[in-house]
Amino acid sequence: MVKPTRVTNAIRATREAAGMTQADLARTVGVTRQTLIAIEQGRYSPSLELAFQLARAFGVGLDDLFDYPGE
């Protein structure tokens, strides 16, 4: 059983608000569409570098895109 990550993200909502498709965003940050889908669904935790690239693609900060709940 894969342990779910506690990091959640608002990539899908932000992407849809920006009018971008998964293919557009994947191309912008240099990953496959399947990887972007896995990130949006919380099945893959992106590296810090990729997280910054995603935030930069929307012109927002990391905290606006990712959330890590406190204890």
Binding site: V2, T35, A38
Partner: protein, 144 residues
């Protein structure tokens, strides 16, 4: 399905089939006689060679078919592919270590070369199969 996942599926299917074919051929050649009397070298070399060629051929053919549907995805890999590959290597490596230790023990007891070679062969096969299964699960269920 991404390029790297297709390669893993191709390698996994060929590895499983290769092991099954190898076991069947060796048992047939033995025909009830002790296994150490089987001329295992050509069978093992053909299995290894066939598995490598088979995996390459399946990857290429599958890649061509998939490329016709999604030209952008051909040959593309990213950070997630590399992370999954690292995890798969770590998982599979345990079986190589077990096989290596098994070979040392067999050598210490001066076992027949058949058992020494086959211990290493099945170590490689198990490492490849278990690593492949771990990769497929990571692609399907997630890697976090």
């Amino acid at each position: 399905m991404v390029y790297e996942e297709r390669n893993i599926w191709a390698s996994l299917v060929v590895s499983v089939l290769g092991v099954i074919v190898y076991v069947v051929v060796v048992l047939q050649q033995a025909g009830g006689a002790p296994l150490v009397e089987v001329d295992w070298v050509p069978i093992m070399l053909w299995t290894i060679g066939g598995s490598i060629v088979g995996a390459i051929v399946i990857s290429i053919v599958w890649g061509i078919v998939a490329g016709m549907r999604d030209p952008d995805g051909v040959g593309k890999s990213d950070q997630r592919d590399r992370d999954i590959a690292h995890m798969s290597t770590r998982v599979g490596q345990a079986f190589l270590v077990i096989a290596g230790l098994g070979v040392i023990v067999l050598c210490a007891f001066e076992a027949d070369w058949f058992w020494i070679a086959n211990t290493m062969f099945f170590g490689f096969a198990l490492s490849s199969i278990v690593g492949g299964v771990a990769s497929v699960i990571a692609y399907r269920r997630g890697l976090v």
